[in-house]
């Protein structure tokens, strides 16, 4: 693996190109904080949105908020399973043109990140990240996918002291990434047919609730590892309001004649 690091300037430019990915990864670089998905499944319905648009859903049993990789950093796991609930939750959904794999442009661009609160009581620590996808890439063999997104809302409940820096809205507007690895390659799968990848995908009945719209999906046992991450939002320089600009123009107009007179009197003195 080669480390990839781009400056903010490059980031800004490159963000503008996202959203029309063909086969090929975007090359997103992981950072922290990071949310890892447990027991994730990739469930793709080639006409899940309409005849031309498929829906790739990533469901998971749990999500874990990772503060960082350094010693002493904390993690927080929240479950979507519990007493009487054995079905994983949808965490990510991608809308994909079923002919090319590119994101569908339109009123709903790309899909959503929806990392919801866990099923545990309110007194238990939990977190929620919600956002919109802005870019999507994938290896043609189906073994890797990546995406970009923007944090729309982040909320935290009863966070432990070790994660007290996570407060509501800390990352709103932050640019994020998603990485998905899938250990088994596509064979006959494409964005034009239906498929499921994940541990025991071929036999598990716990995901049946997500399969009803699929047409004879190809179920493949594989290891699917997913995480979503976000950076602190980039501080934006304040933009002058129109009234301010007008006042500045008037002030400048008043100063210029005064400066010219000073210049003329100075020349006369010499």
């Amino acid at each position: 693996m080669k480390a990839i690091n781009f400056g903010i300037g490059a980031l800004a430019v490159l963000l503008g190109t996202a959203g029309s990915a063909q086969a090929g990864l975007l090359g997103v670089t992981q950072t922290f904080p990071d949310v890892s998905l447990s027991s994730a499944y990739l469930i793709y319905d080639s006409n899940g949105i309409d005849a031309n648009t498929g829906l790739l859903r990533v469901v998971a049993n749990a999500t874990t908020l990772n503060e960082g990789a350094a010693a002493g950093n904390s993690t927080l796991t929240q479950s979507y399973l519990g007493p009487g609930d054995t079905a994983p939750d949808v965490v990510l959904d991608f809308r994909i043109a079923n002919g090319t794999g590119s994101l569908v442009a339109g009123t709903f661009v790309g899909g959503t990140v929806g990392i919801g609160y866990g099923t545990s009581p309110a007194s238990v620590s939990k977190f929620s990240w919600q956002g919109a996808l802005t870019g999507f890439g994938f290896q043609a063999d189906g073994k890797a996918f990546d995406a970009t997104w923007t944090m729309g809302a982040d909320q935290y409940l009863s966070m432990p002291a070790t994660l007290s820096q996570f407060t509501n809205g800390s990352f709103v507007g932050g640019l994020g990434g998603i990485k998905i690895s899938n250990s088994v390659a596509f064979t006959t799968q494409s964005f034009a047919n239906d498929w499921v990848f994940g541990t025991s995908a071929a036999t598990s009945t716990l995901i049946n609730g997500y399969l009803s719209g699929l047409t004879t999906p190809k179920k493949v046992n594989s290891t699917v590892l997913v995480d979503a991450f976000v950076a602190q939002p980039v501080p934006v320089a304040p933009v002058p309001e129109p009234e301010t600009i007008l006042l500045m123009a008037i002030g400048l107009a008043a100063i210029v004649p005064f400066a010219r007179r000073r210049e003329a009197s100075s020349d006369a003195a010499t």
């Binding site: 080669k2 090929g24 990864l25 049993n61 503060e67 990434g177 990485k179 716990l206 590892l225 995480d227």
Partner: protein, 378 residues
């Protein structure tokens, strides 16, 4: 370390369109099956080229099995509130597994409540195992690096869930702004990268079938041409100057002793001509009954001279029939031994064909050994 990082370091790199191939294919291809334990993106894979030590560590998140349903978050242990996955093994500069470490190579520590009653059902060392295989694949152009490992000798509180199984571990190491010296495909220099993974059950590796070959020999005798071979023939016994001696035989380093019937260098005395002999035809059918070819065939019987026509190689299922004719005037047990090789394996078989005196009534001066002459109709 908290999450406030210099802005220049937390940029998300986008737009580099990656190729769709991965550069190196040295993965084992093992897949973790349920029950699985996962650890998230805060894990680390570290390699020290000086010691050849690979260390993978992370924080376990959940235990999961779909059928029968089994699920629980991994929490800290009751003793020290720690939850941890650690894997340690030694590799050489080419990435080949050299050994594990002293003590368990895989350790999963934590506590799990699977019935949601708030009381841990498993607590302490959840899993321990010994590494037996290691694979890796270097990702290029933005793709993640992948490692996979196989463990056996599973112990710990969760071991009954893995009864009779090995453990497979898949680890993915992503390009990360936190790690500037990730795995680059080689083990000649240090590296450190991000890691997340899943471990689970996998069928144990079947031990390689022992290299083997298989031979069969059937020895018969007959007294007339074209007569059916028998395992026992009867001749008129008189007197013979031949006798038995032990002879050591070497077969490609394997030595065995056999009894050999003949003159052993002595002249045939003139008196021997006064005693009648019977021509006995011995037939040896050697068959390769295995599924591997057998080479370096050796066939010995109880006579001094070599059997003619022994082939060097016998294909699976093939047979060869060898014959010899001996003039006999006393009863003998002719022991026939066939040996052969396939690679490092040696195979052998033997059979005995008996030549006895013709059936007759016991005489007054018969020695005791003639008591076994049997009776007519035998």
């Amino acid at each position: 370390m908290k999450i406030r990082k210099p802005l220049s370091k937390i940029c998300l790199a986008l737009g580099m369109i990656a190729t769709t191939t991965l550069s190196q294919a040295a993965l084992l291809g093992v897949m973790p099956n349920e029950p699985i334990v996962d650890f998230g993106g805060a894990g680390i894979v570290n390699y020290d080229a000086t010691t050849g030590l690979v260390t993978i560590s992370g924080t376990p998140a959940t235990l999961f099995q779909s059928n029968p349903f089994l699920y629980g978050e991994v929490l800290g242990t009751g003793v020290d509130d720690e939850k941890l996955v650690t894997i340690k093994l030694h590799v050489d500069s080419a990435g080949h597994l050299v050994s594990g470490i002293t003590g368990p190579d895989l350790t999963v520590k934590g506590s799990i409540d699977i019935d949601f009653d708030g009381v841990p059902d498993y607590d302490g060392i959840l899993l321990e195992a010994e590494v037996i295989a290691f694979g890796f694949e270097d990702g290029v152009a933005g793709a993640s690096d992948v490692f996979d490992l196989r463990f056996n000798t599973v112990a710990g509180a969760l071991a009954p869930l893995y009864n009779g199984k090995d453990i497979a571990l898949n680890v993915v190491s992503e390009t990360s702004v936190e790690f500037l010296t990730p795995f680059a495909g080689g083990f000649a220099t240090n590296f450190m990268g991000q890691a997340k993974g899943v471990l689970g059950a996998t069928d144990p590796v079947q031990p390689p079938s022992p290299v083997a070959c298989q031979l069969d020999v059937v020895a018969t005798c007959s007294l007339e041409d074209n007569a059916a071979g028998k395992s026992k023939c009867r001749i008129k016994v008189s007197k013979s100057p031949k006798h038995w001696e032990h002879v050591d035989v070497d077969f490609h380093g394997h030595t065995f002793r056999r009894s050999e019937y003949g003159m052993h260098g002595h002249q045939v005395p003139t008196w021997a001509n006064r005693y009648p002999t019977t021509n006995v035809t011995f037939s040896y059918v050697v068959t390769n009954t295995g599924n591997t070819p057998v080479s370096n065939l050796l066939l010995t019987d109880s006579f001094e001279t070599a059997v003619i026509g022994v082939p060097a190689l016998l294909a699976p299922g093939a047979s060869v029939t060898l014959t010899r004719v001996e003039k006999l005037s006393e009863g003998i047990d002719n022991t026939v031994t066939v040996m052969g090789e396939y690679q490092t394996a040696v195979c052998a078989d033997n059979d005995v064909v008996v030549i006895k005196d013709k059936l007759r009534e016991r005489r007054e001066h018969d020695e005791d050994r003639y008591k076994d002459k049997g009776k007519r109709g035998e």
